[in-house]
């Protein structure tokens, strides 16, 4: 199961060039999503034209809850991520940025 950690708000990934794309699953379809330095997983998905679910983009509404099947991310804010969801390996895509070179697979089909 993937690991994620909480970091200070708005920090950029410590591995700026480590990940330039990631795998995203939505509605049973797989997508390869380009991701730029500093982008969150959600920002990258939306920039790629993917209809990923979101509302507040601030880590409050939890609409972008998703399963980090593989890879590592750091999240700026996890106050609304419940213990149950964290233990499942769920993350908030609007708060998550890549934090290692490990390939990322993000699944919205919960």
């Amino acid at each position: 199961m993937s690991q994620h950690e909480v970091s200070d708000k708005n920090v950029e990934s410590p591995l700026k060039e480590a990940v330039d794309k990631y795998r995203l699953t939505l509605d049973g379809e797989d997508h390869t999503v380009p991701i730029a330095t500093g982008q969150t997983l959600l920002e990258a998905a939306l920039a790629a034209g993917i209809d990923a679910p979101f509302k507040c983009k601030g880590g409050r509404c939890i609409t972008c809850l998703s399963w980090l099947r593989s890879g590592d991310v750091s999240m700026a804010d996890t106050k609304t991520l419940s213990k149950r969801n964290a233990e499942r390996g769920y993350i908030l895509a609007c708060q998550a940025r890549p934090s290692s070179a490990e390939p990322i697979w993000l699944d919205f089909d919960l």
Binding site: D51, P53, F54, K55, C56, R60, C61, I62, T63, L65, K79, T80, S82, K83, R84, F108, L110
Partner: protein, 246 residues
């Protein structure tokens, strides 16, 4: 905690009398939203809170006098704090006669690992606006769209309404800026759509979650379900009262 259906209510400018007057505050909560809720502990929606003197918290004793003798802006006096005492039962059947019993919070702290306290205020406390409304047709349509039974309690609204016009199951979303009259007295302006969070994903009977409900709302309805209202004429509402568009 779990909501309950009541036969009548007094709705003031500050919301329904007795509604959400206790909150649980987390020391490590967001300063802007310090509440401990089902978002933090899903099973919290299974806790059952009930007033120990339920009749006293539904209507002010002197409500009729304020109708007949005073301008409609006068709010009647509320019962004394003792009338609002609440008992709590946990999903495991543990009962606390008083939500302010230190044992209740102590046990909840052990369960959640958070530093918590109960906060009381007689006029209610809300993480959004004090009065909310959703139609049964909207609830049913969302269930139909997702192929699941949709329990209306997921939406934790104050008022559940049935519209005569069933052409648009989400009719209430078109009422922002308009005024509704419910029953003989209550009037309220619909001020905005209700942007939803993960609370609606929780089954009120099991606390199991269905994230696809919130995802569907976000992608098809801008994340909104139901509406918020601001009361402009306070008053009693009875279950089954007619709703008029002014």
């Amino acid at each position: 905690m779990r909501g309950e259906e009541i036969p009548h209510t007094y709705t003031a400018f500050t919301g329904l009398m007795g509604d959400r007057i206790y909150g649980v505050v987390a020391a490590d909560g967001d300063p802007g939203h310090p509440w401990h809720t089902g978002r933090n502990q899903e099973e919290f929606v299974l806790y059952k809170a009930s007033y120990t003197s339920s009749e006293n918290v539904l209507l002010p004793h002197n409500l009729d006098a304020t109708y007949s003798e005073w301008e409609p802006g006068i709010d009647p006096i509320y019962p004394e704090p003792d009338a609002f005492k609440v008992a709590v039962e946990t999903p495991d059947g543990v009962k606390y006669d008083d939500i302010e019993d230190p044992a209740f919070i102590a046990d909840l702290e052990i369960l959640t690992g958070r530093s918590l306290r109960v906060h009381y205020t007689q006029r209610g406390q809300f993480d959004a606006r004090p009065v909310s409304l959703i139609s049964l047709s909207a609830v049913a349509k969302l269930g139909e769209d997702l192929g699941m039974h949709m329990d209306k309690r997921r939406f934790r609204a104050n008022f559940y309404v049935e519209w005569d016009n069933q052409d648009d199951p989400f009719y209430e979303l078109s009422l922002v800026g308009k005024t509704l009259k419910i029953g003989e007295w209550l009037e309220m302006v619909i001020v905005e759509r209700d942007p939803r969070c993960s609370m609606i994903t929780l089954d009120p009977d099991t606390a199991d979650d269905t994230p696809k409900l919130l995802q569907h709302l976000a992608r098809k309805h801008d994340g909104d379900a139901g509406v918020f209202a601001a009361v402009i004429q306070r008053g009693r509402v009875n279950q089954g009262d007619p709703v008029f568009l002014k």
